[in-house]
């Protein structure tokens, strides 16, 4: 019987092609959108983790409260000891210290007079030590427009926009003005080793990268850092694990009465990230839900039309002694076959496109200049195991559900009535 039905489906294109196309299209869109969306969200989260939040981040309690002002006076001290402790206690994590601070970048002319000046967003990292992973983490090599990476203390990377505006060339000297940890005036001169551009205003505006040792010296914060970032060594961000880690750490080291005691904050708690994560999770299930409803309605209608056109077939089958129940079941079976065919096709195409966009993202940097959120400009999809089923199962369900609704009208009718309708 199944063989017979399959033959019927394959031969009667008008009966099967439209539903197969509808299902395939819906499944394709679901799979692809899910990959695309997860890819973008994943990249956003990843980028935030790399540039600002880490998978977890340790600051003093007071700094954490006011972190948007980057208050140097509330920075962490004895960082070497802290990091040593962390490395020992949490060997699966990599710990790095950074200093963030605001300041003014001054470009002198040949006489040492100010030629141009602009706000600076200082990020001090382990920039020059040969085994530093920070350069890769921040993807600085790819961001370089002119010059090269610093290879010794006293060198800096500055924003290419800034460099162009004030005609700063590689090898020129620039002076960073600001304040020390204790509030006195600070200035420190660097040699520009290269210029960088990320294509994201949030990162590019006044960006200047220096080595943390230079920063500690300049800002009078020996063995200090504004934050220590922790990254899972062998895995991407997993909120449950980060939460467990932060809870245990804070219970042990974070003292409510001491505002200079450290506090660990996980990525999801960082500004806005909780929302992103929630969206990332809900978006896919919402899409799938809408898809099932829409597909079911479409397939209900095609099922109805198909059913009406096949009245004479059903009538003949009744006359041949097939039970109504059996006819209904076989229509569902047919729907299942159509659903499987359509969903397979849709999933294959969805995965194929996602794989392609995983390997070669689409560069939107031209359209997304001055982007105000931490978002990559190259959109990539990601292929996750869930994508093999995220479209497939709803596709099959919708087809069967749609036909069940359509077929039920037929199933409910009395045999005589059905048969009478066949004769007209």
């Amino acid at each position: 019987m199944i063989r017979f039905l399959l033959k019927g489906i394959l031969r009667d294109r008008s009966r099967s092609l439209l539903p197969v196309i509808v299902v395939a299209l819906g499944v394709f869109l679901t799979v692809f959108m899910s990959g695309w969306f997860q890819g973008i969200m994943g990249d956003m989260i990843d980028m935030t983790a790399r540039f600002s939040s880490g998978h977890v981040k340790i600051m003093t309690r007071a700094y954490a409260e006011n972190s948007d002002q980057a208050p140097l006076d509330l920075a962490l001290l004895d960082v070497a000891e802290l990091t040593g402790q962390l490395n020992e206690e949490y060997p699966d994590m990599e710990w790095v210290s950074r200093i963030r601070s605001g300041g003014l970048l001054d470009v002198p002319d040949e006489n040492g007079e100010t030629r141009g000046q602009g706000p600076a967003m200082v990020t001090a990292i382990d920039l020059v030590s040969p085994d530093s992973k920070e350069v890769d983490r921040l993807n600085l090599s790819d961001a370089i427009v002119k010059g090269e990476l610093p290879d010794q203390l006293g060198e800096t990377l500055i924003s290419n926009d800034f460099a162009e505006k004030f005609e700063v060339s590689v090898g020129d000297k620039v002076t960073l003005f600001g304040s020390t940890m204790y509030g006195s005036m600070m200035f420190y001169t660097f040699t520009v080793s290269g210029t960088i551009r990320f294509g994201n205003t949030l990162l590019d505006r006044g960006a200047i990268f220096i080595d943390i040792k230079d920063a500690q010296l300049a800002m009078d914060m020996e063995d200090g850092a504004t934050e220590i970032l922790g990254y899972f060594k062998n895995q991407p961000y997993i909120d449950e694990e980060a939460m467990a880690l932060a809870t245990s750490y804070n219970e042990k080291y974070s003292l409510e009465e001491d505002e200079f005691s450290p506090k660990m904050i996980r990525l999801a708690e960082a500004a806005g990230m909780a929302d992103y994560l929630a969206i990332a999770e809900n978006m896919v299930s919402m899409m799938v839900f809408i898809f099932i409803i829409a597909m079911s309605i479409v397939l209900w209608n095609t099922g109805l039309l198909g059913g009406l056109r096949r009245y004479s077939e059903f009538g003949v089958r009744l006359a041949l002694g097939e039970e109504k129940k059996h006819i209904y079941r076989t229509t569902l079976l047919e729907a299942l076959l159509i659903g499987i065919i359509g969903s397979t096709v849709g999933t294959i195409f969805g995965l194929a496109l996602s794989y392609r966009l995983q390997a070669h993202g689409i560069d939107f940097s031209g359209m997304m200049d001055n982007l105000g959120v931490m978002m990559p400009t190259v959109f990539r999809a990601v292929v996750t195991p869930s994508m093999y089923v995220v479209g497939f199962i709803p596709g099959v369900l919708a087809t069967v559900f749609g036909s069940a609704l359509a077929g039920y009208a037929i199933y409910k009718r009395k045999t005589a009535r059905l048969f009478h309708e066949l004769e007209v």
């Binding site: 003949v316 039970e323 048969f419």
Partner: protein, 235 residues
Amino acid sequence: MKNGTIISIDKLIKQFPVGKSKFTALNGLTLNIERGEFMGLVGPSGSGKTTLLNIIGSLDTPSMGTVTVLDQSISSLSHKQSSRLRNRHIGFIFQTYNLLPVYTVYENVEFALLLQKLSASARKKAVMDALEWVGLTDKIKSKPAMLSGGECQRVAIARSMVKRPDIVLADEPTANLDSKNSHHILQTMKKLNKELNTTFIFATHDEKVMQYLNRKVSLEDGQIVKDEVIENSKN
């Protein structure tokens, strides 16, 4: 082969609801049909022929009175039992053939056997036999759309006969056929009637069909007005 009463109808009344009132399509019919008859229900359109065939075929039920087919009372059958009765014992032939367009001639005939648990080889033999009875063995791979009306009706006859039913119900089988094809299929059916002792019941107002009948029951307004045996009918 043993003969005897295969269908007995007693004071059959069939009413259809029409709006709030009822329309009486069959009004107190009493009739016995013997195995092996080649008989026809004749009468003008609307006289109740189709309604009676549908009840005999257990596609519909009596409103009052009893109809017994092969010792089973139609009104007491469950849906499952009536399906089984049709599947095993009754073949249908329709005015409009009602072949399944996506399947070949062979598959259309085979379809009738799919519900029975037959081995593939037994099924194949049955299908080929049936197609041979109607002279269509050279068209087994054709689709209905490629056949003439006469050929389609012959496929339908093969489909109704392939399971060797006790009773074949044929509702206006020649209405869409020209004279030559009508005679051809009637001769085919008459031959099967003789060879297999299958009971044929026609609903018709076609003179050509009447020439072949051994018995003619005339209906008017749901009542039998004449019941005549015809001695030397055409073969």
